[in-house]
Amino acid sequence: MELLRTENLCKYYDVKSGVFGKTKTLKAVDGISISVDSDRVFAVVGESGCGKSTLARLILRLSTPTAGKVFFKGNDIHGVRGRELKSFRKSVQVVFQDPFASLNPRMTIFAILAEPLVIHNIARKKDLRGRVSELLETVGLKPEHMNRYPHEFSGGQRQRICIARALALSPELIVADEPLSSLDVSIQAQILNLLGDLKREKKLSFVFISHDLNVVHYFADTVAVMYLGKVVEEADAETIFDDPRHPYTEMLLEAIPRVRVAREETVQRRRRPGTVGNGTQGVAEAPPLGCLFYPRCPRRMSLCSTETPGLRESGGRKVACHLY
């Protein structure tokens, strides 16, 4: 069942270069249409500056789109007000990247976790402590932690608190914007397991924003690859990792470092292919004519410099490339 849908979603920013410089338009998100089903993990991957966090903010209604619409269970979330808006806020929660910046240092953990329950009238005052204890246990912390302040916790524990806060209102969708990238590997695995458990037990859906393709491969059901504000490829995780089509997806997958162990005793240098280095990342403010990926593409054709490829569907996957 479809939970969330975006239709031709756009967010443009005006960027001024220099004091007397001309104002240019930066297309952070440019015509994105995605659909997230319930009980699924929809991952958005791409390099920094590709617009994936802007997309998350638009989905969360933390930012107003320049054009396009976001529908949550059929309601246009940028059009709702009052009670409907409050219900949207309850159903869609967020976990941010930096758990150090997303917890108020002057509030105890109890205050942080009880606040959404009070605002949304979920629990009566005498039930609050019990409910907060439950939440802490769900994310693997202890009830006695509730009287402490954020600075008393490590990064991994803080991210657990952020997850507990997101769970407080029993949401249907959690938007997680790089929830693991500030954590060490061993802690990252703990949080990844926690998210997996929550997904199974609570039938939660995720919009999972990440630049770490190993994590996405592990956790996601559907993957959308973004490049300079546009989705260039979208498919099931298995499909995209086994058989990437878009040259940018191929480039990304080739570039991920992987633990590889030579079975023989001879040590071989496992060098990444040199195709990756085809100039610097394109600049978002000045998109070249035609395909945005043209300047970096190892498989470009003359057609690509004159005509922008649209996102076309074929065989259960979508690719924006003239090759397909």
Binding site: V267, R272, T280, Q281
Partner: protein, 346 residues
């Protein structure tokens, strides 16, 4: 190590360039000194890439800073860091005065830091900053140094370097800035290049380019590289030997393939089982988190998080011991752990 003929150094490959002996680093604190690195022993050989892995706070960066003589004022290092570059006598870097240290730092040992924006001076052009290394250490004239700077920027694949030398750091992308840092670090053809998380701030595709560049330069110039990273995959692809640090100690040291095939310390094993390498496999994270430096247990520092813990682990801290050639571990049950074999999936 297999003879693969990819190095062109005149010095025997197995001779050591840098030997760290019983390095201890303490920070002065109100409640008494706090240890950041304890009893660290390692050797970097001529022409090799040595990986130093571990999670944040394990002491890997502070070790690098102590080699460079760049420890913060509140830190004190004891022990020996013996450095023997190609045509010079062995020196103990920890015993050098600041003038002698300056002649080594930047000349014999170059360093690339994680954040290229904060390591470059925003008010000077990149050409000036690269040339400065050469006027300082090689005594070149400003003109000759600028010419050499252009060459160096070309070496690190910066397009049209003649024009780029007039750019300021803010005009470059993160990957380009890191290239400039590498150009500065290798300007004087150092014997050792320390790269501390050189690609952590960069996107994956740029990361791959920078790592390839580092390897090329290393091989062309016969340098040794100390590659510090939290990313085990980067270590597995680029290092010859690797040491894993935990709580200021080396807990395992091995040639890179041995470490990944036969991890002999529960912490290394835990790290490998935490990597999301295949779908639908339950990750086995290490329980708990790293204790604060002044809350470390008396025996094995990893024991509170260890699945193999026995009574003996609590009383005495195990020393780093060799279980086979070149393969050391700080675990009393290492043989058992190796015998039980691998359960990870890469």
């Amino acid at each position: 190590m297999a003879a693969d003929g990819r190095r062109s150094t005149t010095v025997a490959r197995d001779s050591s360039l840098l030997r760290i002996k019983d390095l201890n680093i303490h920070f002065r604190k109100r409640g008494g000194p706090s240890a950041a690195v304890s009893g660290l022993e390692l050797e970097i050989r001529h022409g090799e890439t040595f990986g130093l892995a571990g999670e944040s706070g394990c002491g890997k960066s502070i070790t690098a800073l102590s080699i460079m003589g760049l420890l913060p004022a509140s830190a004190r290092a004891t022990g020996k860091i013996l450095f023997s570059p190609r045509d010079r006598e062995e020196v103990d870097l920890l015993s050098l005065d600041s003038a002698a240290l300056r002649s080594v730092r930047g000349k014999e040992i170059g360093m690339v830091f994680q954040e290229p924006m904060t390591s470059l001076n925003p008010v000077f052009t990149i050409g000036y900053q690269v040339a400065e290394v050469l006027t300082t250490h090689e005594g070149l004239s400003a003109r000759a140094a600028t010419e050499k700077a252009v060459e160096l920027l070309r070496l690190v694949h910066i397009p049209s370097p003649e024009r780029r030398i007039k750019d300021y750091p803010h005009q470059l992308s993160g990957g380009m800035r890191q290239r400039v840092m590498i150009a500065m670090a290798v300007a004087c053809n150092p014997s050792l290049l320390i790269a501390d998380e050189p690609t952590t701030a960069l996107d994956v595709t740029i990361q791959a380019e920078i790592l390839n560049l580092l390897v090329d330069i290393k091989e062309n110039r016969g340098m040794s590289v100390l590659l510090i990273t939290h990313d085990l995959a980067i270590i597995s692809e680029n290092a010859d030997r690797v040491a894993v640090m935990y709580a200021g100690r080396i807990v395992e040291i091995a040639p890179v393939d041995l470490l990944f095939r036969k991890p002999a310390h529960p912490y290394t094993q835990g790290l490998l089982q935490s990597l999301p390498v295949a779908r639908n496999i339950q990750l086995k994270p290490i329980p708990g988190s790293v204790p604060a430096p002044d809350e470390l247990p008396p025996g094995c520092k990893f024991s509170p998080r260890c699945a193999y813990r026995t009574g003996a682990c609590d009383t005495e801290e195990p020393q780093l011991r060799m279980i086979e050639q070149d393969h050391g571990t700080r675990c009393i049950r290492a043989e058992e752990i190796v015998r039980q074999g691998a359960t990870w999936n890469y």
